[in-house]
């Protein structure tokens, strides 16, 4: 078997992973990124809207600064974030945008003069200043006080990822694509790298590293309807969970995006609403202006998604063979705008729906979109529980997003955190002396070989992996969606436990040879169900509503009992529930908990007497 040594192993070659690898490479360390797909196909490429940074160059961003960005981020998180981390992020973001410009990102730039823009379906005028000509410009996104989202037409993620991957090629950061990490190698104290399966041949490979970083993105595919790519399946979280030592933070904090198209759940960007698109109901009437008179369609995602679901429940949804939905209307933005700035949206509607958004309404519904939870790390990106293990990007719970992340903040997080954590990894490596313990390595490889053989030989049963996966997805969809209740979550957890038992009895139908896709799915099904249980069980225990986590039976945000982050462990492999622990959401309060200014505002204050219930 092939063994590959490197200073830094990064599992994941999306924006976060590559940005961190660049930092390590610039400090003189060797770095290898693993990826299921060629780096540029990573899901970061699908982010169309943009990234937030308080550059304040455009007219509607005038007066913006990291303080305002920080404040928006904390409010957006519903005070669930780590404020020290949110601060690090907001301060660094403008510099990172300029760094990307230096590397070659073709950011849209300020064009001086008067122009029209839409907000809530009405037209307004703004004037860009001559003195800002050619500086990086921004657009409007939900939940922000200023226009702060830097963008490249509607291919921001694509363009930035291409640029960052170019820099990787330039610096000699290797990307081993079509390679899937399936287990971490560790001795209970230190991480030594990972066992990976080659997706060109199906063979196992060992990567040994002084520092290992999980940068594998979100895990939306544990839900049946998600905007995430098919590879966002939690495959990178599972090795960390399986150590029994590394906790997942806030797994119950799942974001639903207001505008996934029906039926395929492909996302149409927030930019549609930012640029003036409106939401309509079955009568083709607006409703967000009634629920949220101030922010209207541009309130934060959790708020918009919740009102949409509420409105559908009021009988105002549009019935279709794929379930009920609402309409997104961008017709008034005009052909030039729709085929220019919103070209990807235009293409998605015409090629996947057969809908022409210049003249027709787009069917949309709230859809799983973002995982705020993930591998819990400290502010340096170092994972809890094991030395030499880091995590960054969507896979991590670094925790600047708390219970709701703002549009444009996560793509920005990938590069900002990538830079910060990459530097910390380099610092960690400066002093690191690692001796690889060969018996630990051999044991892990043996364990993985055996797992594969057991699946191929149907040693534990003949459950069909696709059926088990579908059952898990449907169960989460029903029980742990936008609105949550004690009864629904209790049932969800019980069902998932049964599904976990089935997952442990999966056996292959096919021969498992080579890059067998059934084997890939089977290798992670048990871990996925464990993640689903972390989501559902965490949500059941959190008896309050915060950000995207909405308990119909506990509607208030409870700052007295729940200013906490959930830490979910899977302590023993054979357990059938995660072990939950809690820590304070933030060590420092720059901004004390208060009203977000949008969404519901019922709050149980930190100093209110025990026993009051919201």
């Amino acid at each position: 078997m092939q063994t590959i040594y490197t200073d830094v192993l990064v599992i994941g070659a999306g924006l976060a992973g590559e940005r961190a690898a660049i930092e390590a490479a610039q400090a003189g360390f060797s770095a290898i990124c693993l990826s299921l797909v060629p780096a540029r196909r990573s899901h970061s490429s699908a982010a169309m809207g943009g990234m937030q940074a308080a550059l304040g160059n455009c007219a509607k961003g005038d007066g913006d600064c990291p303080d305002v960005h920080f404040s928006d981020t904390v409010k957006g998180s519903d005070w669930g974030c780590d404020q020290e981390v949110a601060r690090l992020f907001a301060d660094r973001a403008p510099i990172e945008m300029r760094q990307l410009a230096h590397w070659g990102v073709p950011w849209n730039r300020v064009v001086p003069g008067k122009s029209m823009y839409f907000k809530g379906g009405k037209q307004f005028e703004k004037e860009e200043q001559e003195e800002n000509r050619g500086l990086i410009t921004s657009r409007d996104f939900g939940g922000t006080a200023k226009w702060r989202t830097c963008y490249v037409s509607d291919g921001t993620g694509h363009s930035v990822l291409f640029t960052v991957d170019n820099v990787c090629a330039q610096l000699g950061v290797e990307v081993h694509d079509k390679t899937e990490a399936i287990a971490l190698i560790h001795d209970g104290v230190t991480c030594f790298g990972a066992v990976a399966r080659c997706l060109r041949t199906g063979e196992l490979r060992v990567y040994l590293a002084k520092a290992t970083t999980i940068a594998t993105g979100g895990f939306g595919r544990i839900y049946p309807c998600t905007t995430n790519a098919v590879i966002c399946d939690g495959g990178g979280h599972i090795p960390a969970i399986n150590t029994g030592l590394v906790p997942m933070g806030n797994m119950e904090a799942v974001q639903f995006h207001p505008t996934g198209i029906v039926p395929t759940d492909i996302l149409v960007t927030e930019g549609c609403r930012g640029d003036g698109g409106t939401l309509l109901d079955v009568n083709e009437e607006r409703f967000m202006n009634i629920y949220e008179p101030e922010k209207q369609e541009l309130a934060s995602r959790d708020v918009v998604s919740r009102w949409m679901t509420h409105h559908i429940r009021q009988g105002k949804g549009v019935k279709s063979p794929y379930g009920e939905h609402l309409w997104l209307d961008i017709r008034h933005l005009g052909e030039k705008h729709i085929t220019g700035k919103l070209r990807e949206v235009y293409e998605i509607c015409t090629s996947f729906l057969g809908v022409d958004p210049i003249h027709q309404l787009i069917p949309v519904r709230p859809t799983q979109h973002y995982s705020m939870g993930g591998v819990r790390t400290n502010k340096d990106g170092h994972a809890y529980g094991i030395k030499g293990l880091f995590s960054v990007g969507e896979s991590a719970c670094w925790d600047m997003h708390g219970f709701n992340r703002l549009g444009g903040n996560s793509l920005a997080e990938t590069v900002v955190a990538g830079g910060i954590v990459g530097k910390k990894i380099a610092e960690f490596l400066q002093g690191a002396e690692v001796t690889f313990n060969s018996s630990v390595i051999d044991d892990e490889v043996k364990r993985q070989h055996e797992r594969i053989q057991h699946l191929i030989r149907c040693k534990t049963g003949t459950e069909n992996v696709y059926k088990v996966r579908l059952a898990m997805q449907q169960t989460l969809h029903v029980g742990a969606n936008i609105f949550r209740t004690d009864a629904g979550l209790t049932e969800c957890v019980a069902k998932l436990q049964e599904i976990l038992a089935r997952a442990r009895q999966v056996g292959l139908k096919s021969n498992g040879l080579g890059v067998n896709p059934e084997l890939s799915a089977a290798l992670k099904i048990e871990g996925q169900v464990k993640m689903a249980l972390m989501v559902a069980y965490g949500a059941l225990k959190r008896t309050e509503s915060r950000g995207s986590h909405n308990r119909e039976d506990f509607q208030a945000r409870n700052d007295r009992d729940w200013m906490t982050r959930t830490l979910a462990y899977w302590k023993n492999e054979k357990d059938d529930l995660p072990t939950l622990d809690y820590e304070p959401a933030t060590g420092i309060f720059h901004i004390p908990p208060g009203d977000r200014g949008y969404g519901k505002s019922e709050i149980i204050k930190a100093d209110s007497p025990a026993g009051t219930k919201g």
């Binding site: 540029r40 590397w103 790519a229 090629s351 896709p517």
Partner: protein, 245 residues
């Protein structure tokens, strides 16, 4: 009435000693708004779990799912079955190394292209974190983005006669990449330096100009204009090199 679709799919698993290249048939009932993404996943989940193919974004954005669909390279996720005949033939993209069935290795091909074209900004300037960004006209940024839109799906390469004959040919995607840096004011490379990369038969002079590439490009990249532009530009550099300045 829903149609019954017949798929003829190329099968070969190089890692299975008993496997030989052959075509296999699958039958599926067509559903509303069905794409090849939906169809192939159903075949895998309901009929043959070993079937290999590559999807990622399933939204026509990432370029993973290039394959030859009824004789024409295209993105499978972005192809609606209702636009196809009831008999659908699927083959892996040629030129690229086969991984198995419909899955090919585009990653290695493109990584090599980055190295050949030095697909990054060449500048002597050092980034100054304290300084404001350098200014750029929005139109310039938009022109660069226009060429940056390529998703590296490989369809243009698979459709290209030259690429099939010459493994070292850069293809429209590689040539377009050079064009992208050529118009970027941040890249300090001279025309002569670009000439060294593409002023030869593996580059622009290998291109026969028949434009199969533009025809199949799912992103509608302006490849014809690009190839023409590079040919003129490099032609002039050739003359300059022959006759001096």
């Amino acid at each position: 009435m829903a149609r019954s679709l017949k798929f003829n799919i190329f099968r070969y698993n190089p890692q299975d000693p008993e496997s030989t290249p052959h075509m296999e048939n699958f039958v599926l009932d067509e559903t509303d708004a069905m794409t090849l993404f939906i169809a192939l996943n159903r075949i895998r989940e309901e009929q043959d779990p070993s079937l290999q193919f590559d999807f990622c974004c399933r939204a026509g954005i990432c370029g993973s799912c290039g394959m030859v669909i009824n004789g024409r390279p295209g993105l499978a996720c972005h192809t609606k079955t209702k636009d196809l005949s009831a008999e659908i033939t699927l083959l892996p993209l040629p030129v690229f190394q086969l991984v198995g069935d419909l899955s090919v290795d585009t990653g290695s091909w493109f990584r090599e292209m980055y190295d050949t074209t030095e697909s990054w900004i060449h500048t002597k300037k050092v980034f100054d974190p304290a300084a404001q960004e350098e200014r750029m006209e929005n139109e310039v940024a938009e022109a660069i983005y226009e060429l940056d839109r390529c998703v590296e799906c490989g369809c243009c390469v698979a459709a290209c006669g030259t690429a099939r004959l010459r493994p070292d040919f850069l293809g429209a995607a590689g040539l377009n990449r050079v064009g992208r840096f050529l118009i970027d004011p941040r890249d300090e490379r001279t025309e002569q330096e670009y000439y060294e990369i593409i002023g030869n038969d593996m580059g622009i002079f290998g291109c026969m100009g028949l434009l199969a590439c533009e025809d199949v490009c799912p992103k509608h990249m302006p490849l014809q204009d690009q190839l023409g532009f590079l040919r003129r530009k490099m032609g002039i550099t050739t003359l300059k090199n022959l006759f001096g300045k």
